[in-house]
Symmetry: C2
Subunit: 87 residues, 2 copies
C-alpha cells in the first residue's frame, strides 16, 4: 500500500516523530512523508508514532492508497521541516 503521512506535532516531539517516520517513509516537504509499506509495517508505524505523540496536542493524518496513484505532486515555496533530526 502507498501511504502519505502529514503530521502536526508539538516542537518537542518533532524530531522523534520524524526519526520514526523516516524509518518507514521518505520525507517530501514540510510535514509530509510518503512511501510504499506493507499492511504490517503500516500498523507498526502507527503504533510507534502513537507511543510518541500526545493525542491532545498533536495530530497525524494518513492517506492510504492501493498503489501510488497520484498524478502529480507540486511543491511551491521553501523546503523545510525534514532537516531537524539530522542537525
Amino acid at each position: 500500500m502507498y501511504v502519505i503521512l502529514v503530521y502536526d506535532v508539538n516542537v518537542n516531539r518533532v524530531n522523534k516523530v520524524l526519526k520514526v517516520a523516516r524509518k518507514y517513509l521518505h520525507w517530501v516537504q514540510n510535514s509530509v512523508l510518503e512511501g510504499e509499506l506493507t499492511e504490517a509495517r503500516y500498523r507498526k508505524l502507527k503504533a510507534e508514532l502513537l507511543a510518541i505523540i500526545n493525542e491532545k496536542e498533536d495530530s497525524l493524518l494518513f492517506y492510504t492508497f492501493n498503489t501510488r496513484k497520484y498524478t502529480s505532486r507540486e511543491a511551491i515555496g521553501v523546503k523545510k521541516g525534514g532537516e531537524e533530526w539530522i542537525l
Copy 2:
C-alpha cells in the same frame, strides 16, 4: 481532478491562506485541505495562494489525482488548524 493541499505558512499568513483555500477545497485536519476541482480552478487556486505566500518562508504541497482515489484517510489526535479564520 482531485486535489490534496498541505500548507505550511507563517502564522501571519495562515488566515489568508485558509480563507482562499476554503473557497476551493474543504478543510480536513491541521494544515490539509482537499476537494474536487477543475483544471481551471486549480490554476486559479494556485495563483491566488502564490499572491499571498512568501516563497522564501512558506510552502505549499499539492497532490493531484484524476479522481478521488485514496483507500482510506485516517486521522489520529487533535483536530486543529481549520478554525482560525472563523474566530
